[in-house]
């Protein structure tokens, strides 16, 4: 049985999303900025999509800005926040295992003279609010952290950071990269005083080509991409309507976030339990991790080899690390794992559609891998 466990890379678009995209390419094909009937229809579709994406975040539609991707949302948030706040300080606080769409922005800002403090996770990928409190000061202009780490699934204390910022009297804006957490954890930015929060459509059964930035009402950022002034000037470029319509449809089809989380917790428990019976498997994700992600190592087997083998068995997972010739995973490196563990790491990532049968066939395939890929005798 085919078993797709690479949902943190991308998900299969749900039927409702596909239908919505088709509709946005056939009936409602207009440019939302056009004044005529087709434009107006597209504009209505766009605004209803905005409301749909705002709903699970308990945000106002006007706080949602569509972007071409999660990466674009992160870039817009980070460069915008720093530009806005640059006269108030020079320090940026983030973590050492952010997604490249955040880390590369930090490297650019560092080269421009900003001081970037990267908090180091422990061996299980955990970073505490106290670690943030130790470094945030009145010169800190931006705090950017992910809600959920994309490789190991550890949940960061994004709910507690705003109060740290207030306590330290920092002028900082708070940005949360919630690409892996959106619709998997209940995330309500207003409740946690989050200023900026990035999400992506294709991680939640939508299409590639749409993301969104939540920007708290009252916050104004200079735009990162200039042009026709779409999305209230924050992200110019004609909106990718098929992907945006599909995004909204996928969000609506998601069901109850807590219920899904509970089901996935059971699946994750089953997976961990069964993997304990396979020889030479180390689990890198902490017990407290988001149950949608499980990072493991198959001792002595390079990541790519496991991925190839499992692919042959109809089980699709991702390599925790590039090949022995490529670069090691910066996430696992930051967590202080050994080179052997990093080189053999793979990530299993579930979705709300994952079944018990899939979990069981995945475990069987891993069992086969452990038996067949290792030295005999």
């Amino acid at each position: 049985m085919e078993c797709y466990l690479d949902n943190s890379a991308t998900t299969k678009p749900c039927e409702a999303a596909v239908q919505a995209a088709v509709q946005a390419m056939t009936d409602v094909f207009g440019n939302p900025s056009s004044l005529h009937r087709h434009g107006f229809a597209a504009m209505q579709l766009l605004e209803s999509a905005r409301a749909a994406v705002a709903k699970p975040l308990s945000a106002e539609p006007g706080e949602i800005y569509f972007t071409p991707s999660g990466t674009a949302a992160n870039n817009t948030a980070i460069f915008g926040a720093v530009r806005k706040n640059r006269r108030r300080g020079n320090k940026i606080v983030t973590t050492a295992f952010e997604h490249p769409s955040v880390e590369k922005c930090m490297e650019r800002l560092e080269s421009e003279g900003f001081t970037v403090v990267r908090l180091i996770p422990d061996k299980k990928g955990i970073i505490t609010a106290e670690q943030f409190a130790e470094v945030i000061d009145e010169k800190t202009i931006l705090v950017s952290l992910m809600a959920v780490n994309n490789e190991v699934g550890s949940v960061l204390p994004f709910t507690e950071i705003a109060s740290v910022i207030r306590r330290k009297k920092a002028p900082a804006l708070l940005h949360v990269d919630a690409v892996q957490g959106f619709l998997k954890l209940p995330i309500i930015p207003k409740k946690y005083d989050i200023d900026l929060l990035s999400v992506s459509a294709h991680k939640v059964h939508g299409l590639k080509g749409a993301g969104a930035l939540y920007m708290r009402k009252g916050v104004q950022l200079p735009p990162y991409i200039l042009g026709g002034g779409q999305e209230n000037g924050l992200c110019s470029g004609t909106q990718a309507m098929p992907a945006i319509a599909a995004f909204a449809a996928a969000v609506k089809a998601c069901g109850d976030v807590r219920e899904n989380l509970e089901t996935t917790e059971l699946l994750n428990g089953r997976l961990r339990e069964k993997l304990a019976g396979v020889q030479g498997i180390t689990v890198h994700s902490p017990e407290s991790a988001l149950p949608y992600i499980l990072n493991i190592s198959l001792e002595g087997i390079p990541s790519q080899v496991s991925v190839n083998f499992l692919s042959g068995e109809g089980v699709y997972v991702s390599a925790g690390s590039a090949c022995s010739k490529g670069h090691r995973s910066p996430v696992l490196t930051a967590m202080g794992l050994s080179a052997e563990e990093i080189d053999s790491a793979i990530r299993l990532s579930l979705s709300r559609e994952t079944t018990e049968n899939e979990i069981d066939s995945c475990v069987r395939a891993l069992q086969n891998a452990a038996e067949q890929l290792r030295k005999k005798g």
Binding site: P302, V305, N308, G312, C323, S324, G326, H327, L373
Partner: protein
């Protein structure tokens, strides 16, 4: 005015009685390389090959791009072919050279007159053409000793040719004049360069690649395809044999001492390649090894791999440093493909402490644990053949 291409072949001019054979191979290669560019005719006069388009649609820029990758060409030039009439020549020079003279400040004109019936002598032609160019392009001055560019006017039997820019060719010998050899290719930086270098010496390439699914991925095989397709732009079509290698690698892993793994594997690769090579009339093997680069490429290790081969093994990179090899791989546009991060058969099961000074008898002893002959035969029989085409 018609534009043509004049091609100077390099070393070929030095060849004695074989020269005409070598030249006809070169002409054939050029024809094959350019056949989809529109109609043209090729003629030879002395050591120059002339390409004359016969259709308006002939793509001159693309032709130049392709010719720059044909081995056996030392240099070539685009030229205007015009009627042998001084008025026509002067007007054509002014029109044809405009672009090429725009970004320089000094020039000189050289004239050659092989048609002695032409009324003006060479120095007179030079003077007139120079005068016409100076009149048309006031930013230019003549410098006969150290000009930025030399304009050449050649009056031959059929027409007069005006040209200015010499383009360096790929050099070497026409592919096909040196026989055929089999290149061992893994997907790294070195082997494509090694193949390119011997193709440059006129050798037709076949390639042998070892695939070990699931230890190696489909992406790794695609990488080898892409590398060979890039080399084929120079060498012409390449026959690729993809050899199933998983069983052999597993057998070595399970039955031989770890520190000898790589060398036993290399010896299998050599034996299998030689067998395929002989069957396909290849006279040698080619590898991208260079002394000391990795443990299996020390002098003693190379000796141990050579011990199983009964034909020449060419290692054109043998004395090159890695950075020198990289420079070349960038030149031939294989570098960016080579660094795609996929495991290949050489990177799986690599021992932690490989032998750098191996003894042949230890290897032979280690191989006694294996059914060498049957393993080789199964691998050779299972090899998949395809042709990697030279396309642009």
């Amino acid at each position: 005015m018609q534009e043509i291409i004049l091609i100077k072949n390099g070393e070929l001019a030095l060849k004695g009685l074989n020269r005409s054979t070598f030249e006809s191979v070169l002409v054939k290669n050029i024809k094959r390389r350019m056949r989809d560019l529109g109609g043209f005719v090729i003629s030879r006069s002395q050591s120059t090959i002339i390409i004359e388009p016969t259709e308006e649609s002939f793509d001159m820029d693309e032709a130049v791009e392709r010719l720059s990758k044909v081995f056996g060409i030392a240099a070539f030039q685009r030229a205007a072919a015009v009627e042998k009439d001084m008025t026509v020549i002067l007007a054509a020079a002014q029109e044809y050279l405009e672009e090429q003279l725009a970004d320089i400040s000094t020039f000189k004109v050289e004239a050659k007159r092989s048609d002695k019936a032409f009324p003006l002598k060479s120095p007179e032609i030079s003077r007139e053409v120079g005068g016409a160019l100076l009149a048309k392009f006031p930013h230019l001055t003549v410098d006969v000793h150290n000009p930025d560019r030399i304009v050449t006017v050649e009056v031959r039997e059929k027409a007069a040719y005006i040209r200015c820019n010499q383009i360096k060719g790929a050099g070497g010998m026409p592919v096909g004049t040196g026989g055929k050899a089999a290149l061992l290719i893994s997907g790294g930086i070195d082997s494509p360069v090694a193949g390119w270098m011997l193709s440059k010496r006129g050798i037709i390439l076949d390639a042998v690649h070892f695939a070990s699914p699931p230890f190696t991925s489909p992406q790794a095989e695609m990488k080898v395809h892409d590398l060979l397709a890039q080399v084929a732009k120079y060498s012409g079509d390449i026959g690729l044999y993809t050899v199933p290698f998983t069983e052999i690698q597993e057998q070595i892993r399970d039955n031989c001492p770890e520190e000898l793994f790589t060398l036993v594997m290399r010896r299998f690769m050599m034996r299998i390649s030689e067998r395929i090579a002989r069957r396909e009339d290849c006279a040698a093997l080619i590898t991208g090894e260079s002394v000391g680069q990795v443990a299996s490429q020390t002098m003693l290790a190379l000796g141990c791999t050579d011990a199983v081969v009964g034909m020449p093994v060419f290692r054109p990179l043998i004395g090159m440093d890695k950075d020198e090899i990289i420079v070349r791989s960038r030149q031939i546009d294989t570098f960016d493909i080579s660094i795609r991060p996929y495991e290949d058969c050489c990177t799986v099961f690599t021992p932690k402490h490989p032998r750098t000074r191996p003894k042949l008898e230890f290897l032979e002893q280690a191989e006694q644990a294996l059914d060498v002959e049957n393993l080789i035969q199964r691998a050779v029989d299972g090899a998949r053949f395809e042709i990697i085409r030279c396309t642009f």
